[in-house]
Each structure stands twice: as structure tokens, then as C-alpha cells.
Symmetry: C3
Subunit: 140 residues, 3 copies
Amino acid sequence: MPQTILVVSTRGQGLYDITDEAGAFVRKANVATGLLTAFVRHTSASLLIQENADPDVRTDLEAFFARLVPPADDPRMGYLVHRLEGPDDMPAHIKSALTQASLSIPIGEGALMLGTWQGLYLFEHRDRPHRREVVLHVSP
Amino acid sequence: MPQTILVVSTRGQGLYDITDEAGAFVRKANVATGLLTAFVRHTSASLLIQENADPDVRTDLEAFFARLVPPADDPRMGYLVHRLEGPDDMPAHIKSALTQASLSIPIGEGALMLGTWQGLYLFEHRDRPHRREVVLHVSP
Amino acid sequence: MPQTILVVSTRGQGLYDITDEAGAFVRKANVATGLLTAFVRHTSASLLIQENADPDVRTDLEAFFARLVPPADDPRMGYLVHRLEGPDDMPAHIKSALTQASLSIPIGEGALMLGTWQGLYLFEHRDRPHRREVVLHVSP
């Protein structure tokens, strides 16, 4: 079945919209009914379905996760052992665990069956720019 | 492959059991071996596999999430920007991010391979009644 | 399509690496391109993709979840009602809700398309030894 690797260039923490890229791949796959699975090949970035309308929703989501899992140099995170790759690294693994590495979206009438307000996002948890790979796979 | 949209009417926050509906759809699909994927078409409701026995488990789950992500009018959530749709709205997006938009359950001998104590739930995060759509899709 | 039940014997809370078992099943399935779905048949254990390199990452992950969801006899968890099965039981259900019951990994060139640093783990949330079942299913 159709499969590709989508490369997403990130410039710091935040949500990066990949809905259009996923939709274009599904159209090209040319299946009437099926299932798109997205899979991120990293443990410090993840996937999320979120609202595509008000950008404040993304701001607030990022703020929540930054408070729930502060950087490793925050006193509340003093128990962390894995610190070699910087204060944003271990929190990135934790935020990835709290969100998704894989997500599946049904395909109907040749298109993703997302709700009106849903978008597909790569959630980058590291501060520095990264080149992220997301596998897109279409099943029957 | 077989696909349908299940409509769930919710009456406030909480877990709504959709195991029977999903199981009935799988039986009707009449496949011996396969995969059922459920996908919620909203960003303020989500999906969860949870215990189907003691209802206290659901009560406690809801209580945990209500404490982890209080309503926007709680002082701890003073940093939230997206407030137009009421104090339960942005917390609903956050709780959705912390749980699942899609879930896949293998089918064996024509039935969902859920464990004895597992049920499939729609997790409603808004206070007012909503009409929620869950896509059910069977892959080989 | 190919399907099996993997049995994992756990000896207390923590992450148990099942990457090799999943990879071996995929090789045996002998499909060039496809999708592996793993599904845990329990509500007090879950699945996680995490870093397979530094074991400190797993230690820190477990420590974060233990702090976010303390045992039921911790004063912060005084609101919990479901207590019959011990102080580690209800927190186990909550940690399962915060992580994954199902995960899908694309298959390319006959092998799991995991990133270099990714491993597949069963996340045990109970203290006593358990026999956990993980369904592995290959879709086209």
C-alpha cells in the first residue's frame, strides 16, 4: 500500500501543521475508503490532532505542557537523571509519552475524514531546529 | 473496507461507553481477522480504553483529569488565552491532547479482541450536550 | 492478515522492551509494506514508544509518572474512590489513560520503520508480577 516519509523542518518548540501534506498524499494515493496512519520516527517530537481555527488554542496547549513538564533546570525537575543533551531534552521525551507517536485517520470518498475544526500537527518538543521524519501509510 | 459514523449524544463531561456499538459494527462487517480503528472528529472530546467493571474507576479518572486541567476560571489556569467559548473549552482541548483521537483494536474470530475488563469510551470534555461523531473503520 | 498474542511477564512497575519480539513477528509475517498495530489487553498497563539508548530516560519517565499520579495512599490522592485493589491500582488506570492502549508502526522493506533511537515498550503500572497480553496485528 502507498507509503512515504514526510520531512518536517522545525525551528523550536511548538505545533507544526502537516494537514495539507497528509491530505495531498491521501489524494495521490487515490483510494476511496481506507486508513491513513502517521508515525513520528523520534522520541522528542510527537503527533497531535488539534483545533485548526484559533491559533490561541495552540499557544495555550504549549503553555500547559511547558507548565506540566518544566525544563530540567527548573527546581521541580531536580529528580531528573538524563541531562546530557540539555534542559529541554528529558522534558521532550516526557511530553512525547503524554501525546502520540502514531495516529490513524479514516479516509472516506478519497479524503481524510477530519472534523471541520481538526488539523494534524507535529508537536516539536526541542528548542533547536530539527529535521523530523513522519511516515505516512495508507491501509485499505 | 467497512466504515460507518457512530453518533454519540453527550450530556456533559464524562465517559460514554461505546463498546457495544463498536462490537455490533464489527460483527456486521463479518471479517474473521482485522483491525477496528475508532476516530473522534472533534478536539474537545476524545477516546479511551478503560475498565468496564467498577464505575468508580470512571469517577476517579474524571476527577484526576479535572484536577490536572482545571476550568479556565481557576486561578491556576490564569495563563490561558483562548477563553471565548467558556471555562470548559480550553481545558477540553488539553484533555483531548492528553488522551486519544484515534484507537485501534484488533479483530480475531470475528470479534474485538478486548481484554475481559476493557471497554471503549468516548470521553466528553464539554459541559453542555453535544452530538459527537466517531468514525469506525475496519481494515484487513 | 497475520496476528499473534505476545505474552509479557512483568515484575513490578516499569518499561519492558518488546521491540525484538515485535520485529521478529513482522519478519515472520513476510510483508514488504504494511502496518503493525500493537494493542494491550489491560487497563493497568499500556504501550509506549521511547528512547532505546540511555536507560536513564526510562528511569526519568517512570519518576515523572510516579510524581504526576502518586499512589492512592498519598494525601494528594485522597479524592480517589476505587481503592479495593491496593494503592497502585487506580493510579495504574490513570497512567494507562495518559499513555497508549494501541500503537501502530509502519512496515517498510519488511521491517518496522522505527527511528534509530526508538524502542517499543510495555509500560507496567502495577507493583506485583503480572502476565500481560499484547496483540500484534499486521495490516496491508
